[in-house]
């Protein structure tokens, strides 16, 4: 809870920066604030408190995810601070990112559908603006508009679903809904429709098929730093909310939604991976790969057993860290204006160390041991097999193989002998390099001792 308050206050401070003329101090203030928020999360560890008449519920699950997204934001800040220093804006980028983060934390820790909805909206509306924040770029404008229109639709579905659930159970509270559903004396049609509508809203947020159409365009059009934030922090928070909602209050309706999630999970991972194969733009490939990763994580929600929470947590972190590294390279490339995979051609010969670290990141995303992505995938497969979803795991194996193909295209590009002159190669500034190395090392570290992260939640 403290973290949520601190970050909301930080957002307000960022808004005032221009007016009160401390914009130069803004980045250090935000970094310090995020560190303090992270520290409060660590200090609150193992507390189990419900706040504001059970609106928010901070147990270890919520704390772990909160800590994770703050940590990811801090890593993101390595590159993101440049985005805050933009002279055309008056500190609103920083404020929007922080509000987005606050919304994400609210989504992670909700215990009441109202807070869930508020959190989701704070997150989404900030993101709509952020996606369009590159005002002079047509594609960025398109991304913002597209995201907003589609997002508004999904919000409508979600809200309608919440209303139906409220109509059936007369409460917004998760425990209340759970109790009401357990009693059973309520209109099943209303409840089931409500659950499915909420599911649609959430599937939109995590960009699962068939609600994924916005993702590639928005990811590609939005400024790279915003895309990076969306692919990591937002996705992690959306899955945390997804799991929290469906594992607690709708568990008794599992027969209604689990088959839907399982089938959509299979479709999402196949579709995301197959589409990614055909992309020549690195950024768009990462967008499709993020769809595919959403499909993998949905396996854990479909399996819904004691390892699900831990495996979603591990996977979200492994994927986010991997994405940070990949986007760091992408960001370095986009300063040249070339975002295609072939822009990396020959980098391996010029800068072997960069190539090795980027390869490690790609291994992690593709799920090859001993990097984090492998263990994350292992836990997912394990949970799904335990839940009896052998067919789903087989599809996941198949789509992982497709995944290897396009992640390896990046590695192949690195080691191609190319006629490109060294000046045309992407220039990695120290900050890119640091983020790349950090994310590779963290990936390797998680890969070598995956147990403790996963055991934080279980």
């Amino acid at each position: 809870m403290k973290a949520l308050i601190i970050i909301s206050i930080l957002g307000v401070i960022a808004m005032m920066a221009e007016v009160l003329r401390y914009k130069k101090l803004l980045v250090p203030i935000i970094v310090a604030g995020l560190f303090i928020a992270l520290a409060t999360v660590v200090m609150d560890w193992n507390t189990d408190i419900r706040y504001f008449n059970d609106m928010a519920y901070f147990n270890n699950y919520a704390l772990a995810f909160t800590g994770a997204i703050i940590f990811i934001t801090l890593l993101w800040m390595l590159l993101g601070q440049e985005y805050f220093k933009d002279t055309h804006t008056k500190g609103e980028h920083a404020a929007l990112i922080l509000f987005c983060l606050a919304g994400a934390i609210a989504m992670i820790s909700f215990s009441d559908l109202t807070l869930f909805f508020i959190g989701l909206e704070i997150l989404s509306i900030s993101l709509y603006v952020l996606a369009a924040s590159n005002k002079n770029d047509l594609r960025s404008n398109e991304a913002g508009l597209k995201y907003f229109l589609m997002g508004a639709f999904a919000t409508g579905f979600l809200l309608f679903g919440i209303a139906l659930i409220y109509g059936a159970t007369a409460t917004f509270n998760l425990q209340g809904i759970q109790a009401a559903l357990a009693k059973g004396a309520i209109s099943p049609l209303m409840v089931k429709t409500g659950v499915l509508l909420i599911l649609v809203g959430l599937l939109f947020k995590v960009s699962a098929a068939p609600f994924h159409f916005w993702a590639p365009d928005v990811y590609e059009g939005a400024p790279t730093l915003v895309t990076m934030f969306m692919a990591t922090v937002v996705k992690t928070a959306a899955f945390a909310a997804f799991y929290r909602l469906f594992s607690t209050c709708f568990i008794s309706l599992a027969d209604t939604w689990i088959p839907v999630v399982a089938v959509l999970s299979a479709i999402t991972m196949l579709l995301g991976n197959i589409m990614a194969v055909f992309q020549s733009s690195f950024k768009r490939m990462l967008a499709y790969s993020s769809i595919a990763h959403a499909g993998y994580m949905m396996m854990a929600i479909a399996a819904m057993n004691e390892v699900s929470a831990g495996s979603i947590f591990l996977y979200a972190i492994a994927y986010s860290i991997g994405s940070l590294g990949a986007f760091a390279c992408l960001h370095a490339m986009s300063s040249n204006g070339d975002e295609s995979i072939s822009g990396l051609n020959g980098l391996g010969n010029r800068q072997p160390k960069v190539a090795i670290f980027l390869s490690l990141i790609m291994f992690s995303l593709a799920g090859i041991p001993p990097v984090a992505g492998f263990f994350a995938k292992y836990y997912l497969f394990y949970g799904a097999l335990m839940g009896g979803y052998t067919w789903l795991v087989l599809i996941a194996v198949l789509s992982s193989l497709i995944g290897v193909y396009y992640y390896f295209r990046v590695i192949f590009a690195l080691f191609k002998t190319s006629p490109v002159s060294p000046e045309e190669l992407p220039k990695l500034l120290p900050k890119h390099y640091i983020l790349l190395v950090l994310s590779a090392i963290i990936s390797l570290g998680i890969g070598l001792s995956p147990a403790w992260l996963q055991s934080l939640i279980s």
Binding site: G348, P369, P370, V404, F412
Partner: protein, 484 residues
């Protein structure tokens, strides 16, 4: 503890090679592989004097999932570890005349490969085995990708996708077996051996495992990645792949399939035997028609390992013993052959046998060493190949006479393509360019002489190899007989 040192020493050495100045990478990696060889010798004496128990170790890794760092060396493992640690210095020595770009990465990757291979052979935990199994793929893949021939991108992709698809199926099977182990579930080898699996389950899991191993070995029809990869890889890469890495597949069958999936093997063993027989004849016939010497070795390798696999699936003591001996023999011989191919290619800039000829005139020593390696490969008595193939054929014979007759063709066909190759390259008309063929350099001489010596020593006195593997293999065979 010593086993862990054996596993992790090459890893540290690899890191060192990557960090230290690149000019010395060659020497540095060679010295560290010699130290590793010394450690292996020490482990060997411990094994002989105090038994396998001193070499076992068990540490926690991921306790909540029953994954541990459990390693050990029994008679089967220690032979393959020895093979690895003998071959790696030879492979490094064989590269002394080559000048690879970025040598620190090249030798670092070779040592990383050694690390992963020893891990595979020493792991006594299913999950650990899997991790090392996958890990072994990465360095060799990079070696092929960075120093391979013209078509390396297409070929390495095929290679990787092939092997990874097998591995992922194996992971699936492994998790499934794990879920059937007595509670609390564990990946430890003892727990996996006790998993209660019905015959139907075993039938499915059999394929999960077998595909992974069959692709690595490779057995027909999963071999299509192999000739391209062997041909296109740099010489040292081909040596690692064929000399050691394919043994991972055979080892996997002996270690993980025979004890766990006895019923599955009873159901599908026949089918696999037929696949092996097809492998042998098919690959041998294709080998006869090859023009590229390296490609010929690649196909001959398919034929040889087909027989090894057939020996394993004969489930007899002779077959298993033969497979152990022949794995060592084939490892040494094929490294020798690839080295010879490399020596020729470096001097003549071609491997096409039609444009070679009469090399024997220029270098008598080279032709003698070549013929020794060749005789080992075609299994002449008193060479290492003979002992292995004889036992293997005996094993297959006890399984089925007709199959033995078909598999026996390997000896005849092997002689045909090998001697034909020798004739084309070394004898016959002196090709105009053959005049330029210079004698062996010192490092080449040393490496080839050691290989030739190993071929003869193992052929004349194979008893130590047989007696070391005996107890572990007997246990497996007894267990199989108990089930059937």
């Amino acid at each position: 503890m010593l086993t862990l040192v054996l596993i992790f020493f090459p890893f540290l050495a690899a890191l060192g090679t990557l960090i230290l100045p690149r000019d010395n990478a060659k020497m540095y990696s060679f010295v560290s592989s010699l130290i590793q060889l010394g450690l292996t010798a020490y482990a060997f004496t411990l094994f002989l004097t105090q038994g396998a128990d001193v070499l076992a170790a068990n540490y926690e890794w991921v306790p909540n999932l029953g994954i541990s760092l459990q390693v050990g060396l029994d008679g089967i493992s220690i032979l393959l570890v020895a093979l690895t640690n003998i071959l790696v210095p030879l492979i490094i020595l064989s590269s002394f005349r080559n000048n690879y770009s970025n040598p620190s990465a090249f030798y670092g990757l070779i040592l990383l490969m050694q690390f992963a291979l020893i891990g595979v052979f020493a792991a006594m935990d299913g999950f650990l085995f899997y991790v090392f199994w996958e890990l072994a793929l990465l360095p060799i893949w990079f070696i092929c990708l960075m120093w391979g021939g013209e078509e390396r991108i297409r070929i390495t992709l095929k290679f990787f996708i092939y092997t990874l698809s097998g591995s992922l199926l194996m992971l699936l099977g492994l998790i499934f077996v794990y879920l059937q182990t007595p509670a609390p579930h564990s990946f430890s080898i003892d727990a996996l051996y006790q998993a209660s699996l019905t015959a139907e389950m075993q039938g499915y899991i059999f394929w999960c495992f077998f595909l992974a191993f069959a692709i690595k070995i490779p057995v027909f029809p999963f071999h299509t990645w192999q000739p391209d990869t062997y041909t296109d890889a740099p010489a040292q890469g081909s040596m690692l792949l064929s000399g050691i890495m394919l043994k991972m597949g055979v080892y996997g069958i002996i270690r993980w399939m025979l004890p766990i999936l006895a019923l599955g093997i009873a159901e599908w063993g026949n089918f696999v035997m037929i696949l092996c027989a097809i492998s042998i004849v098919y690959a041998s016939v294709i080998a006869i028609y090859q023009k590229d010497f390296k490609r010929l070795i690649a196909y001959s390798s398919i034929a040889h390992v087909g027989l090894i696999t057939a020996g394993v699936f004969s489930l007899s003591m002779q077959g298993l013993q033969g497979s152990m001996v022949q794995m060592l023999a084939h490892g040494i011989n094929v490294v020798g052959l690839f080295f010879i191919a490399d020596i020729i290619q470096r001097r003549m800039k071609t491997r096409q046998m039609d444009s070679l000829g009469g090399l024997a005139n220029n270098s008598p020593l080279f032709s003698i060493l070549f013929i020794i390696v060749l005789l080992g490969s075609v299994a002449l008595p008193l060479t290492n190949g003979f002992v292995g193939e004889f036992l293997l054929l005996l094993g297959v014979y006890s399984y089925n006479t007709w199959l033995a007759a078909i598999c026996g063709l390997t000896v005849i066909l092997g002689a045909v393509y090998m001697f034909r190759a020798y004739q084309k390259v070394m004898l016959g008309e002196v090709h105009e360019r053959s005049v330029e063929f210079t004698g062996l350099a010192k490092s080449e001489k040393v490496a080839l002489i050691i290989i030739a010596a190993l071929i003869i020593v193992c052929g004349v006195y194979p008893k130590p190899i047989l007696s070391i593997a005996q107890p572990a293999l007997e246990e497996i065979v007894l267990n199989l007989q108990g089930v059937n």
